[in-house]
């Protein structure tokens, strides 16, 4: 197997005496992978990225890029480039000069600089604007200059710190596709920091979810969304219902409202468990008879209905600690319920997940 692009071994970063930004992090990012570090602000994801780039040094631990220990190497001696959240384009230089900067610093011959810069500007469709100043460009264009400026150096690893954060929604969605295409085309390892779960889910080969300096779970989009292992990951990615229960028998638990429900395997033999259920995995029925026998079910009442155009969100009171959230598609063959309706909520046991606290 090829050497991993990035390895973090026991990496800890402390600021001062009591702030632990990153806590004994172990992470391996494979070569050619689109890897996202996902988490809320202050979770340590940006600090982790900055330690790979060399803007910060770990308090302890090892950062390796393609097997080479980075130690206290300054950023200019690392085979990585960064796309900054604020783009950090040099305002006193033209687009061309910005993109050429890295090559000039590496003392690449002038003729090569010219061809390589032109080629990468073509790739990001900015060849026409080579002589413009960054301030004359739109946010989306600036973003592409920042990308071109990093990519022109053909780094072994490209680090991206919330690069789409400053763009508006439509543009952000377009750029998501562009970025993913670009990554597939150039085959460079991308390490992408974001707090936007949708961005992470749509683009990444694998995602690492961080909270309070710790890496909670690493997996592909499907695993992270469908099989969160902790309450935090379940709650941070998308909408989730968390149901507290008491194990009564192998594969069964009693909820706070007294219902006996099935739970997936791998649970403790006794004690409390937390079930995580996605709103779209829950189904509402008008009458009990309509529910297949192999599904869990409980009586409930609609307390709120929110219309999102393509879907309805229902808040359903079932005697649990909080109302359940149910998401149903707005389709002619799906019955729409009204506030106050008595309904049956059902789900299948294998769509539920056990999560730790």
């Amino acid at each position: 197997m090829a050497t991993p692009a990035v390895e973090l071994v026991g990496v800890t970063k402390r600021f001062g005496d009591d702030v632990v930004a990153v806590d004994t992090l172990d992470l391996t990012i494979e070569d050619g992978e689109f890897f996202s570090l996902l988490g809320p602000s202050g979770c340590g994801k940006t600090t982790t990225l900055r330690m790979i780039a060399g803007f910060e040094y770990p308090t302890e631990g090892s950062v390796r890029i393609h097997g080479v220990e980075m130690g206290l190497k300054p950023p200019n001696e690392r085979p990585v480039n960064t796309v900054f959240q604020s783009y950090a384009l040099f305002p006193h230089m033209t687009v061309f000069e910005n993109v050429a900067f890295g090559l000039e610093m590496q003392k690449v011959a002038n003729a090569d600089v010219e061809t390589r810069v032109r080629r990468v500007l073509d790739q990001v469709q900015l060849a026409q604007r080579a002589d413009a100043r960054p301030s004359q460009l739109s946010g989306g264009m600036q973003q592409r200059v920042a990308l071109a400026r990093a990519l022109v150096n053909e780094p072994e690893v490209l680090l991206l710190d919330e690069p789409l954060g400053a763009l508006d929604l439509k543009l952000r969605q377009n750029m998501q596709y562009e970025l993913k295409d670009l990554q597939t085309r150039v085959g460079i390892t991308f390490v992408y920091v974001t707090h936007d779960q949708e961005e992470a889910l749509t683009m990444s080969d694998r995602i690492g979810v961080m909270s309070a300096g710790k890496l909670l779970q690493v997996g592909d989009s499907h695993e992270i969304y469908e099989s969160p292992t902790s309450r935090f990951v379940a709650d941070f990615i998308g909408e989730i219902n968390l149901l507290e229960g008491e194990v009564t028998a192998p594969g069964a638990a009693r909820l706070a409202n007294g219902s006996e429900v099935g739970i997936p395997p791998g649970h403790p033999s006794a004690g409390r468990v937390t079930l995580a259920l996605r709103p779209e995995r829950l189904v509402l029925h008008q009458v009990a008879g309509a529910v297949p026998d192999d599904r869990n079910q409980m009586r409930a009442r609609i307390v709120r209905r929110t219309y999102y155009g393509d879907v309805y969100f229902y808040d359903v009171e079932a005697g649990l600690s909080a109302p359940l959230e149910v998401k149903e598609e707005n389709r002619p063959d799906v019955v729409t319920h009204a506030v106050g309706d008595e309904v049956i909520v059902s789900w299948s046991t294998d769509s539920a997940n056990l999560v730790s606290d």
Partner: protein
């Protein structure tokens, strides 16, 4: 106030009223500047074309350009070049000393920054004249500088009443005027840009040369102008620390008004100096703006 829908006429009237109120706010400053700056300047300008009577009095008739012609006199040129060079060296030394210090202040934490900025401003709390006189004690033949030289077995040195003394005094007096604009420019700097440069394979020095320094140009330009212009026309410092041999512009102009009682020539000299300062400022702004 009329209530009801707004028409274009009403909107225009409201805008006019707004700009009148703006003028009112500026009025005290306008009055002060016109009375004590613009009018005296016009007077000096008028005097520069006047002539002198045989007894040396200024006569406000026979308007001529004689005073301006005298500006080409070798003696005047020599004084001008000397003052110009001194101001240039003062500015250069201030820049070299202030830049690292301003950089240091701008990169400290907020509380340390405030302490350092107060320290920069402390000299302003005592009188400029008094502080300049203090340099006489330090630079005199039995002053501290000379004593230190003798401790190390050297000759007694007398710096006082030389151009070097004036240079020391000018740098000392104008240093804060260089530090503050440089600090303001560096403090505003987006340090992400420096990180970006380092990320793009620039060494620390290359990042400074290519990014930090060009982006601090507004501070360099402002500080240099703030030091160069008062240095060129300096009067107090050369009068206290300078010698009789190396006359400088400020002193020369004053002597035209007082000792020589040649007001027209003194006025022409003043305008000549102002013209050169204007040219230098425009040139400097152009160069500064180009590098941005």
């Amino acid at each position: 106030m009329t209530q009801g829908p707004v028409t274009p006429e009403l909107e225009r009237a409201a805008e006019k009223a707004e700009s009148r109120r703006g003028l009112l706010i500026g009025l005290p400053a306008y009055a002060y500047l016109i009375l004590f700056f613009a009018i005296p300047l016009v007077l000096v300008f008028v005097y520069s074309f006047a002539s002198r009577s045989s007894t040396g009095l200024t006569v406000l008739e026979d308007w001529n350009l004689d005073s301006y012609r005298r500006l080409a006199d070798p003696l005047v040129i020599e004084i001008f070049v000397r003052s110009f060079l001194l101001a240039l060296i003062t500015t250069a030394i201030c820049l070299l000393v202030s830049y690292p210090f301003a950089y240091y202040i701008a990169t400290r934490g907020p509380s340390m920054r405030n302490i350092l900025l107060v320290l920069v401003m402390i000299p302003f709390w005592s009188n400029f004249l008094v502080r300049t006189y203090a340099w006489r004690v330090i630079l005199g033949s039995d002053g501290i500088a000379s004593q230190i030289s003798q401790v190390f077995g050297g000759e007694p040195v007398r710096v006082l009443f030389t151009s070097t003394a004036v240079l020391i005094g000018l740098v000392y007096g104008f240093l804060p005027f260089m530090v503050l604009p440089l600090y303001a420019a560096l403090e505003r700097l987006d340090w992400n840009l420096v990180e970006a440069a380092r990320d793009l394979y620039a060494s620390g020095w290359a990042a400074f040369r290519k990014v930090t320094f060009p982006l601090s140009m507004p501070g360099v330009v402002a500080g240099s102008i703030l030091v160069f212009i008062p240095s060129l026309g300096a009067y107090v410092t050369p009068a206290i620390l300078g010698g009789a041999r190396d006359v400088l512009l400020g002193d020369y102009i004053v002597s035209q008004f007082l000792a020589a009682r040649n007001w027209p020539f003194g006025s022409a000299l003043s305008f000549g100096v102002m013209f050169v300062m204007l040219l230098a400022t425009i040139f400097y702004f152009r160069v500064g703006a180009k590098s941005l």
